[in-house]
Every structure is written in C-alpha cells, then in structure tokens.
C-alpha cells in the first residue's frame, strides 16, 4: 500500500502517545454505563446500605475523631477530618491552608512517611507525599484525602459523586495527562470522589504496583474505612469557604517535580537566575518576576527557553509566562534520569543577584525543576505570545529548585533556588564548562 515503512511505523507508534480521559469524564461515563445495565432494585439496596453506613459513620466519627489529634496537630485544624490509622498504618494531617477555599489534606500509608513529606508532624499541604511515593515498595499503599466544602446545589457535581462508605473497587484510574509520579516503575493510582455530610471528599489511593492484588486492595479498603469526615462544613466554614471543585483541580498537583532532557544548539546554553525586581528605563517601569531559566537562545528569541520556573510578575520578553513552570515542547522531553537537587560539585559561594552563566554541554542537558505552588493546577499546554510551544503549569510559585547536568557526562552544570523569602541563589560550574 505504501512505500514509506519508516513513516508508517512512526504513525503506528505515535498512537501510544494519545492522552487519556479525565477522571471527571471517566466517572461520568462509568455511571452512565453501569446505569445502562444495572437493575433498578439494586438502587434500593444501595440506598439502604448507604443509610446504614451513614449512621455508622456518624457514630464512629464522633468517637474516633478524638483519636485524630496526634502530637497536638489537630488543634490547628478541624479535628474530625483524617484517617484513623489501621494497625501498622501511619496517618498525617496537614495544617489548615492559609488561603481560604483550599482543601484540607490528610494522608495515610502502610509505610512510614518520608521526612520530606512532613513538617513538624504535619503533612505537606501539597497533597502529594512525593518522596514517600517515589520509594513506595510493591506492597506499599498511600492514601491522600482532601476535604472541600462544596455547594452541591449550585455546582452541578452532586450527580457525579459517590457516597460513603467509599469502596476501593469504585475508584477510577487516576493518572491523567501523563502525570505519573514514578514513570520508571509506575504506581497504581486511583481516585474516589464522594459527597458526604455536605463535603466533597477526594481520596487518591496509590499502590506500589500498577496491578494491585486483591490482598492489597482489601488492605486499602480497611484503611479507607477509617476515613472520618466532619458532620457538616459549619465548624470549619470559617477556614474553608465553599468552592466549585473541577476535574482539573481534582487531578492536579501542588508540587511540580519534573526532569527533562533538552536539546541545545551547538552544545551551548545559558542559565539565568534573577530575583524579583523592578526597574525603570526611560520612564517605563518593569517588574521582573523572580525566575530561573535555562535557555538555548538569546533573551530576544521567543522560543529560546528550555525550562523555566518563574514567580508572578509582569509578562515581558524575558518572562513569557510569569507565575508558571514550563518546558519547551519542541526541545525538551520528559526524562527518567535521576538528577539530584543539590549544588554539590559546584563551587560557591552562590550568586544572590541576577546572574547569567553560559555553559557548554554535549548536545543535551538534563534539567530537573521542582516547584511548590500555592494552589493546585494542571500541567497542560500553555498558550501565549509564542503560540503553544510550551507545556507547563501556571500558578503562584512559592519556592523552587532547578538543577542542570550534562546529559552525556552527568556532571553538574548549574543549580538555582528561588526561596520563600523571594531571594535567589545560583551556582554554576567553573570554566571551561561555564563562564
């Protein structure tokens, strides 16, 4: 039929890159599909079960809620939300968010949480225990629950939500838009969304294996039975204002941690690190967002950026997407190579003012960027002044780290940090690798 076998092979291979459905679409379709075959009498049975479960949950919640105040952390948030740890399990709660409307977070795991995922006994508010998940053994399970007051009457979401008790078997596959926590050894990631006591409860279940056994699922179910939700949003409404949850939010991350391998022209690239600053030239005042950029072209070239993390600020020719983390679609690809976030191997002291380092590498560089965002947002194609040449996530970057290594030799070339205090630090390799 065709005399172009190479093209045909590529065309067939590329179908594997198709994205998947959103959790929201999946949930909606699941309900529709099951409703198409489910006998009506089962609905009555389910209603009875739900009613019984609610009675049990309300009773259990008031008794078990008190158990959820370990190490005094519960005093800082609604005590009635979280996991009652099953035997051999560990539970964490996050502090209430500073920004009204964000979700409350609670976590449980059958392995100890990594120190990176807790701060003074509280869970990291990002709702992603990244380090614990990265090292999760095959028989490991991690659950993350978020609680958001939801106006079910106006949101239109009520018909898509499950009801308590939650069942692992009802969970939908969660990985979406390629957001895989551990791509080299995929986790089993599932999500449950439920309405309970006027709350929207999202639970993400991570298994250490992509094909969790029935034993593992049963173990997860036992812990899932231990999630406790406040009776009504009233007690926490001062902290959590009703908001409309979206599918994008449900599948989003507040911590972005990605590694890319990027192609640089002639082996040359520049790392630019700049603190947030305001300057005035000929009466024109410009605010530059604090940012760390790896670019293979000049500042004036709109497609020169490889990987950028930028704080909010005015959009200008340097910062095309202020308040964002993004990577070039054309020049960068996701990489599974481990790149440590450290300045080890790079001479100090770090530069704390705006600084450029022009570096050389063997054609490709590895760039890892880790950013903590103030609120969750999805990783997606960004559209802006340069079309849709970048994939990324927009949001208020609270802090970030960026490490660059030579893809061929693995040697460190640069490391930069954007701190919470809005200060920046920049290390780079000595001559002849960088100048």
């Amino acid at each position: 039929m065709s005399s172009d076998p190479e093209l045909e092979r590529l065309l067939r291979d590329v179908r594997e890159t198709l994205p998947g459905p959103t959790p929201e679409a999946s949930r909606r379709a699941r309900r529709a599909a099951l409703a198409a075959i489910r006998p009506r009498r089962r609905r009555m049975k389910a209603a009875v079960l739900i009613a019984v479960a609610l009675v049990v949950a309300v009773g259990a919640g008031s008794v078990l809620g008190a158990l959820l105040a370990p190490r005094g952390s519960a005093a800082e948030g609604p005590m009635e939300f979280g996991f009652v740890p099953a035997p051999g399990w560990y539970a964490l709660q996050a502090a209430p968010p500073a920004t009204p409307g964000l979700s409350l977070v609670a976590m449980a795991a059958n392995v100890p949480f990594s120190p990176d995922d807790s701060v003074k006994g509280l869970a990291e508010p990002s709702a992603l225990p990244y380090s614990t998940l990265r090292t999760l053994p095959a028989d490991g399970i991690v659950m993350v629950a978020t609680l958001t007051a939801l106006d079910l009457q106006t949101s239109g979401l009520a018909k898509y939500l499950s009801h308590f008790p939650l069942r692992v078997e009802d969970a939908s596959p969660y990985v979406d838009f390629g957001v895989e926590v551990r791509p080299e050894k995929p986790l089993g990631q599932y999500q449950l969304r439920a309405a309970h006591h006027g709350w929207n409860v999202d639970v993400t279940v991570y298994f250490g294996t992509s094909a969790p056994s029935s034993t593992l699922r049963a173990q997860a179910q036992r812990q899932l039975d231990g999630v406790v939700v406040p009776e009504a949003p009233d007690t926490a409404s001062a902290r959590v204002t009703p908001k409309r949850a979206t599918a994008a939010e449900a599948s989003a991350l507040a911590v972005v941690d990605r590694t890319f391998v990027c192609t640089v022209s002639y082996g040359e690239f520049t790392v630019v690190v700049s603190p947030r600053s305001t300057s005035e030239v000929k009466g024109v005042r410009t605010t530059s967002s604090g940012h760390a950029r790896v670019t293979w072209g000049s500042d004036a070239y709109p497609l020169g950026d490889l990987v950028v993390v930028a704080r909010p600020g005015l959009r200008n020719y340097i910062t095309r997407f202020p308040g964002a983390v993004y990577a070039s679609v054309r020049r960068c690809a996701a990489s599974r190579t481990s790149v440590p976030l450290t300045h080890a191997g790079l001479p100090g002291p770090a530069s704390v003012v705006r600084s450029d380092s022009e570096c050389r590498a063997g054609g490709k560089v590895l760039v890892r960027v880790r950013a903590v965002l103030e609120s969750p947002a999805p990783w997606r194609r960004l559209t802006g002044p340069v079309g849709s040449a970048y994939n990324g996530v927009k949001g208020h970057v609270v802090e970030a780290q960026l490490a660059v290594r030579d893809a061929r030799t693995g040697k460190p070339l640069a490391f930069a940090t954007l701190d919470r205090s809005e200060a920046t630090r920049h290390w780079s390799a000595p001559w002849p690798r960088c100048v």
């Binding site: 459905p21 409703a35 194609r381």
Partner: protein, 180 residues
Amino acid sequence: MRRRPDTELIALVRKGSAEAAGVLFDRYWTHVWRAAYAVTADRGLADDAAQEAIQKAFGALHGFDETRPLGPWLKRIAINRAVDQLRRRRQVEVLSDEETVFHAWSVGESADEDIRLWAVADAVAGLGAGKRVVVVLHYWLDLPIEEIAGVLGLPVGTVASRLSRARKELRQVLEEQRVV
C-alpha cells in the same frame, strides 16, 4: 474478578453483576475514549462520543455475541459515535487545529523517541481534518481503507487518495524537522 476473561464478565453482567460491569468498564474505557479522541481531536467531543458509545454498548451487552471479541466491537461503536459527533457539529472539514494536542507527556523508551513521536503527533494534528481523520482511522485505529470508506460514507478511492496525500504532507513536515 479483575482477572476474569471478558466472556465470564459478560455472563456475570447479564446476571446483574455491577462489579463485573465495573471491571469491564475499567478494562475498556480508556481504549474507547482514546478512539473517540483520535477521531474528534477534541476532549469535549471525545467525552460525549465515548460515553455514548460505552453506554450504548453496555446497554446492548445482553444481546452481544460473546464468541466475538469485545474490544473491537467497542472500538467500532466509539469510532462511529465520534464520527457522528463530528458530523453533528459539521466539523469534519472545519475542525480547528489550534488546540489539538495528540500526545501525552512521556511514553517512549527514550527522550529522543519521545521527541520523534511528539513531532509525528503534532504533524498529524496539523493535518486538515479530512486527512487527519483518515490517517487516525487507518494507522491508529487499524481500520482498512474499505472500512474507513464505510464509516465516513466516502468512496474507497477518495479515502485512498486522502491517505496518500496525508502521508506526503506528513513526510514533508517531518523531513523539515529532521524527524525522518
């Protein structure tokens, strides 16, 4: 339950097992959705088409001949629904390519392979809708030209011609990008 073959699950579904239906859904939903998305190149249309398809298919499971494989049957329904969606909205020829993104973030064995595949996906996304649908149906959804002609209601010669022109256009674009 999850390891049971389709035939057993279908039998259980006929007896009213929601659990078996759920397993079947989980097994095929992503495939169904991707088929719809490949054709429509639009998430909203794909959501609608895929949901319609799987709803229709599950509703018809009682009459399904379980000696036939379930996957291709579902795929074919999804394709038909997706094409219907396009026709319904008169978008077969005017579908905007502005936001079409055919690739997820990372799938290949290596970063180089990812870059190549993304370039190919972008090139397919950049084809005119008429040619794109033909390419997608043939190379991604494995439909022979005769079946494509049936699905789209076009003469076989027209489909073959579109496919040939699409390949030529793709090669030109990918050569410019040094992908092939």
